[in-house]
Amino acid sequence: MLRFVGQRLLTLIPTLFAVLTLAFVLVRIVPGDPALIILGDQATPEAIAKFHEQTGLSKPIWQQYLAFLTQLIQGDLGVSMISNRPVLTSVLEVLPYTLELSLAGVFVGVALGVPLGVVAARSNGGWVDWFVRIFTLGGLSFPAFVSAVLMLLVFSVMLGWFPVIASGKPITDPWGRFMSLALPATNLGFVMMAYVARVTRGGMMNVLRSDYIRTARAKGVPASRIVWKHALRNVLLAVVTFTGLYFSVLIGNSVLTEIVFNRPGLGKLVIGALERRDYTLLQGLVVAYAVLVVVVNALTDLCYRFVDPRVKA
């Protein structure tokens, strides 16, 4: 087990290296000179040159790349070109909010999606199945930013159940923190729920036709346990795979959710950095997202070990 984890962690290194290089290149491909944006259109060539000198932009690109990597290895993501704050500090400050939101979103997606899918598969063609299929179609085709605004309107403004500005509450106020998380997480997880329900339903239909389910029935296992234990354990493989793959999409969607619900998080930071061509901050954010996705993928692989006994090393 430990060896497996170790090996898996080792394979992260080349992946991360590739992603970091890509981040470095991508950020520099984005058109627009940060100097012009910060100093304004009227900046003198001298001022621009001085800015380039200070921020290291005047150096050849390979030197910039080497500097970027050496800093990174030391755990330094550089300082923001605009605010001069260390990028790492800015990222770590809001990372918990994004993590919290994404995990809560995944939780909503799986905790609602799996039972919905199972219930639909069991009623195969019945009215429950139809309801779930229409409901999930809604989840798939409704843009998340529209549902976010609608949810805010109904549950926060009209009913007043949840705070309108779901900004971060301190950890010392768990109830307030939960309430401010509930709506954004539900909104973020809703689309995922629809996918998960469909993955579960499809998987369930297949598994319920398999030989080992017939064996279970032939030994008199009650119908509910056949579904929730014998079949679901096998369907979960597909759900784990899907969740791992979908996580990166979900993190992308979290940017929108953070904006609409006005939550602190990586998403808001990204939008700000993009607007201001804050190369270093943007670079740091891409690194943060990449690490997040890569780590989640590694965790997914670990999950397989628990869900599927056939997976070795």
Binding site: S210, D211, Y212, I213, R214, T215, A216, R217, A218, K219, G220, V221, P222, A223, H230, R233, N234, L237, V307, D308, P309, R310
Partner: protein, 327 residues
């Protein structure tokens, strides 16, 4: 006392609004400790018959008439939840395909323990002990240490032993084995069949052995029922059937067996194939392939009660009073 009595059983399929008889007016019985082999080509309703007794028919199929008495309990009238207490407890079943018959994500021990806990009410610990005992009984080497193994760690033959262990776990009265060795190596086939024989004798179980292998019938069954197109066309003791097959289909089946004392060039085959349910003739279902077909065969199915059901029964117009008797 009969472990299983099947009386005038009919199982039908509903396909596109039409009703098709997959099992037609079948009657037989199995005594304690006895093995009845059901033989016939693929698609002749053998598995449909087994699934009718288990009440595990696909949703398009249903029992439309007849009785199935398991130890005097009318199976056809038991509720669906009631069947959960019959299956695995009073009837055990072994399947054809051991590679896929076990749940890949549950340990072998867990799968054997489950019926023990469900039907016999054993605690987790007791069930574990009993399951290891069962694994030893079906001769799985170092059973205790393999309790926590998963099916993929077992070979086909070993998996079939696991399936057998869980089928006999609760001392069922009847064991249904649907082609239990078809998917196995020849050497393993023999071991599995011998094991089934021992378990049947020890447990005084009745056994319904479905096979298309007449060699297996000769070596392991007491009586044979020959099925064709959903009909039981002939039933007799093994010796009787091999010596004096009566139904043209049984005779053709036996003639297609290679024998050491005959020239291989004499090996006969039966022309044509089993008609699909949709194209089944109204009269005798074997008519189209039968060398003795008469006018009568076309119009009406032969009566199901010719001869003594417990001795030698044959369902053919040739043996009905007034029918032309072909030697």
């Amino acid at each position: 006392m009969s472990v299983l009595v099947v009386d005038d059983l009919r199982t039908s399929l509903q396909i596109n609004g039409g009703e098709y008889h997959a099992v037609r007016e079948i009657s037989f019985s199995i005594e304690e400790g006895e093995t009845l082999a059901v033989v016939g080509e693929s698609g002749c309703g053998k598995s449909m018959l087994a699934m009718s007794i288990m009440r595990l028919l696909p949703s398009v199929a249903s029992i439309t008439a007849g009785r199935i008495l398991l130890d005097s309990l009318p199976i056809e009238a038991v509720s669906e939840t009631g069947m959960e207490r019959v299956r695995g407890a009073k009837i055990g079943m072994v399947f054809q395909e051991p590679m896929t018959a076990l749940n890949p994500v549950l340990t072998v021990g867990e799968q054997i323990s489950e019926p023990l806990r469900d039907h016999l009410g054993l605690s987790r610990r007791e069930a574990r002990k009993a399951a290891i005992g069962l694994m030893e009984k079906v001769r799985i080497p170092s059973a205790a240490s393999r309790y926590s193994s998963y099916p993929h760690e077992f070979s086909g033959g070993m998996r079939q032993r696991v399936v057998i262990a869980l089928a006999i776990a609760c001392h069922p009265r009847l064991l249904i084995a649907d082609e239990p060795t078809t998917a196995l190596d020849v050497t393993v086939q023999r071991q599995i069949l011998d094991l089934l024989d021992v378990l049947r004798t020890e447990g005084k179980m009745g056994m319904l052995l479905i096979t298309h292998n007449l060699g297996i019938v000769a070596g392991h069954a007491d009586r044979v029922a020959v099925m064709y197109g959903g009909d039981l066309v002939e039933s007799a003791t093994v010796t009787d059937l091999f010596r004096n097959p009566a139904h043209p289909y049984s005779r053709a089946l036996l003639a297609s067996l290679p024998r050491v004392d005959r020239d291989l060039s004499e090996l006969a085959s039966i022309p044509g194939r089993v008609p699909t349910l949709v194209n089944m003739p109204d009269g005798c279902r074997f008519m189209d392939r039968c060398p003795h077909a008469m006018e009568k065969c076309n119009s009406m199915p032969p009566p199901a009660d010719v001869g003594d059901a417990n001795l030698h029964m044959v369902r053919c117009w040739l043996y009905v009073q007034g029918g032309e008797h072909a030697a």
